[in-house]
């Protein structure tokens, strides 16, 4: 192995792959076979964190950054004047095994620029996964990119070796895609996604009948959207996301604040701040949809197409539905408990278990760890004092903001002043 050359390639191809945010290694059921190498951890493990605070769980690299497409938002676009490199299949295999044996990583996340044509590229990606599984008896996590436009047969094969497959939508709306990636067609994304979805359903059916049905993409599929590149509203992004969750049974949709990498006039200029706060609000909304039983139509509407930046989406929803509150913490059902601002799902479970033993009061709730600064305006408990004093939504919001600190505070200082003056 020529380390100098490998290092050079790794530098180029890791740098190019870092804009893909997905790094999860969770949800797979693969176990160690025949005393081989590796065993997946169902909760996933983040082995380290970069200085920007993102987790490093997988060796995330491109097979090559040569690409025949010219998508404006992408660093590896054809017209960009950058160093290009390509790994050999064996090189990726060796690197993955060496890193895994040292407990640096949970596995491999392999993506690629598209060279020659989609099928040719997809075949190379599958080649790496196949070699890892069959020759190295590797049972760690493998995440392969589905190349837009890859044929059904290849997608079928990919799922036999990979734990997760993903194809990135990147631009949430069709009109945005036309503008920024004119060579790409949305249909090409949908096709492999649909195939994988059907294969997973098929796998689940077969599994019931035949115990030894080979695993097919046990960790499901995911996608990613870039935020703030094409001028979409939060509603457009989240409705699109909800559609993909429902239509293709996705495990995750990732939101990636656009990092300016181009002087292209169609995109935010270089030096524009990465929309971190917006990204955070979208993830909060995503969690509300997946775990808290919210419907997207409750959170974003044509009259309310963007999320509030100064408060989280659940609080924002609660302030629009004050008629439903205050809730009695000792009586409300799980579904409604989860809707109280400042009460997370873990707290919901603890409340439900704890109230079997005695009626809960403020001290219990604080000890359990609920965010009482937000929650106290929305609940009753086993105590005479409570905060529901017929306040308006604006008053409650003002009080909450007054008593909270956020690292994003500077972004919405303007609004804060306004509410302070109301009180």
């Amino acid at each position: 192995m020529n380390y100098e050359r490998i290092k050079e390639k790794l530098d180029i191809l890791a740098d190019a792959a870092k804009y893909d945010v997905s790094c999860s290694s969770s949800g797979s059921t693969r176990t160690n076979k025949n005393k081989g190498l590796g065993n997946s951890s169902s909760s996933g493990i983040c082995h380290t964190y970069t200085e920007d605070g993102r987790c490093v769980s997988l060796l995330k690299i491109l097979l090559t950054n040569h690409c025949i497409f010219n998508c404006a938002y992408c660093v590896t676009r054809k017209s960009n004047d950058i160093k290009r490199a390509a790994f050999k299949v064996q090189e990726v295999v060796d690197l993955t095994i060496a890193f895994y044996r040292r407990n640096y990583i949970e596995g491999l996340f392999l993506s690629s620029g598209i060279f020659k044509n989609p099928d040719y590229t997809m075949e190379r990606l599958i080649g790496v996964a196949k070699k890892l599984r069959l020759e190295e008896n590797f049972n760690g996590y493998i995440h392969l990119k589905s190349i837009p436009g890859a044929s059904d047969e290849l997608m079928r094969e990919a799922g036999l070796y990979a734990d997760r497959l993903s194809v990135n939508i990147e631009i949430p709306t069709e009109k945005g895609l036309k503008l920024l990636a004119p060579d790409k067609d949305r249909k090409d994304f949908i096709m492999p996604m649909n195939k994988v979805k059907n294969e997973i359903i098929q796998y689940k059916n077969d599994k019931r009948k035949f115990k030894n049905t080979p695993l097919y993409a046990p960790a499901g599929q995911s996608t990613q959207m870039i935020i703030g590149a094409g001028g979409e509203t939060d509603a457009e992004i989240m409705y699109s996301s909800a559609y993909f969750y429902k239509q293709f049974n996705l495990k995750r949709v990732y939101y990636s604040g656009y990092i300016p990498i181009s002087y292209d006039e169609r995109l935010p200029a270089i030096g524009t701040e990465v929309p971190l706060l917006r990204e955070n609000r979208l993830y909060q909304t995503d969690w509300l949809l997946r775990f808290y039983g919210f419907d997207i139509r409750e959170l974003l509407t044509p009259e309310h197409p963007n999320l509030d930046s100064d408060i989280d989406p659940k609080l924002s929803w609660a302030l629009r539905h004050l008629d439903l509150f205050p809730l009695d913490i000792n009586k409300a059902d799980k579904f409604m408990l989860a809707r109280i601002p400042g009460v997370g799902l873990k707290s919901v479970n603890k409340i439900i278990q704890a109230r079997r033993f005695r009626r809960l009061n403020w001290d219990h709730l604080k000890a359990l760890g609920i965010a009482s600064n937000r929650a106290k305006y929305f609940i009753l408990c086993n105590s005479g004092e409570y905060e529901s004093k017929d306040r308006t939504a604006a008053q409650i919001k003002g009080l909450i903001l007054q008593n909270s600190t956020s690292k994003f505070r500077k972004t919405f200082d303007q609004q804060l002043n306004l509410f302070n003056s109301i009180n």
């Binding site: 380390y3 490998i6 290092k7 790794l10 530098d11 890791a14 740098d15 792959a17 870092k18 804009y19 176990t31 160690n32 005393k35 081989g36 190498l37 590796g38 065993n39 951890s41 493990i45 983040c46 082995h47 380290t48 964190y49 970069t50 200085e51 920007d52 605070g53 993102r54 987790c55 490093v56 060796l59 995330k60 690197l95 060496a98 890193f99 044996r101 040292r102 407990n103 640096y104 008896n137 604040g257 990092i259 300016p260 990465v274 971190l276 603890k350 278990q353 704890a354 109230r355 079997r356 033993f357 005695r358 809960l360 219990h364 000890a367 359990l368 690292k407």
Partner: protein, 256 residues
């Protein structure tokens, strides 16, 4: 007058002490490790002899009274090595034995809540060690790692590594507690190693580790650097996830 039951520091030792407390119907009891016992003028100290049979009887009784969650709270609190943790564990046991239903989910009880919080800390440390162990390949072809976790989590991480690295020999050594796990390709044994002075220092790297080892370390460091996005820099978050006390064991945080 308080009776102090002094045990040898093992989990079975602790359970034996619990047995003795109930056997002699002692009222005011504190359980302490032999190493940490300080004597008050009016306390009487009694030494507990670890008895696996008695320990098992206590454990079986607890199993009837408590879910596996409650049992894991106790074991994790034991591994935490928090001074005085035994008092909390004993209180938990007392309440559990009296109660009709399993108390492990009674988060409104201060004892249960506190114990669950301690257990959570241990669990976090266990998870961190599964992530932060960095093996180095020695010339004997053993993958070797040192750690010094906040709590004694080696017993908890053993099966994770055994399942994962089934085809390579490895050692994970706890420098703080001076013992380690050695997987010889078949099963795990507990080892104590007397390191020569400076054996683990960086000057002696070339002596013990393979040539490949340092090359892969360079590749990993380089990967770690390249995958960072400078325009999203967030030092606070970075430190929250990778606290500084772990850095000396993390290849990617070592200086070149």
């Amino acid at each position: 007058m308080t009776t102090i039951l002094m045990y040898d520091g093992s989990f079975n030792g602790f359970l034996s002490a619990v047995f003795i407390k109930y056997e002699y119907k002692m009222q005011q009891v504190r359980i302490r490790k032999a190493a940490f016992t300080s004597k008050n003028l009016f306390d009487s100290i009694e030494e507990v002899i670890t008895n696996d049979k008695k320990a098992e009887r206590v454990w079986l009784k607890l199993k009837q009274k408590c879910s596996s969650k409650g049992l894991s709270f106790l074991y994790k609190a034991y591994l935490s090595e928090i001074i005085g943790g035994e008092d909390l564990m004993l209180k938990f046991i007392e309440i559990a034995l009296q109660s009709e239903k399993c108390i492990a989910s009674d988060y409104s009880s201060p004892v249960v809540l506190k114990l669950s919080q301690i257990a959570k800390k241990i669990h976090r440390e266990k998870h961190r060690m599964e992530a932060f162990v960095r093996f180095k390949q020695t010339k004997d072809n053993i993958y070797f790692a040192t750690i010094s976790p906040d709590y004694n989590v080696l017993p908890l991480i053993c099966s994770h590594f055994e399942k994962r690295y089934a085809d390579q020999k490895w050692i994970i050594y706890d420098e703080k507690r001076n013992y380690g796990l050695y997987y010889n390709g078949n099963h795990v044994i507990i080892v104590k190693i007397d390191f020569k002075k400076d054996a683990l220092s960086s000057q002696n790297k070339a002596l013990f580790y393979t040539r490949d080892e340092s090359d892969f370390q360079v590749l990993w460091k380089s990967y770690f650097k390249m995958t960072n996005i400078v325009s999203r820099k967030n030092t606070k978050l970075h430190l929250q996830h990778v606290p500084k006390r772990y850095w000396k064991y993390l290849t990617e945080k070592e200086l070149y």
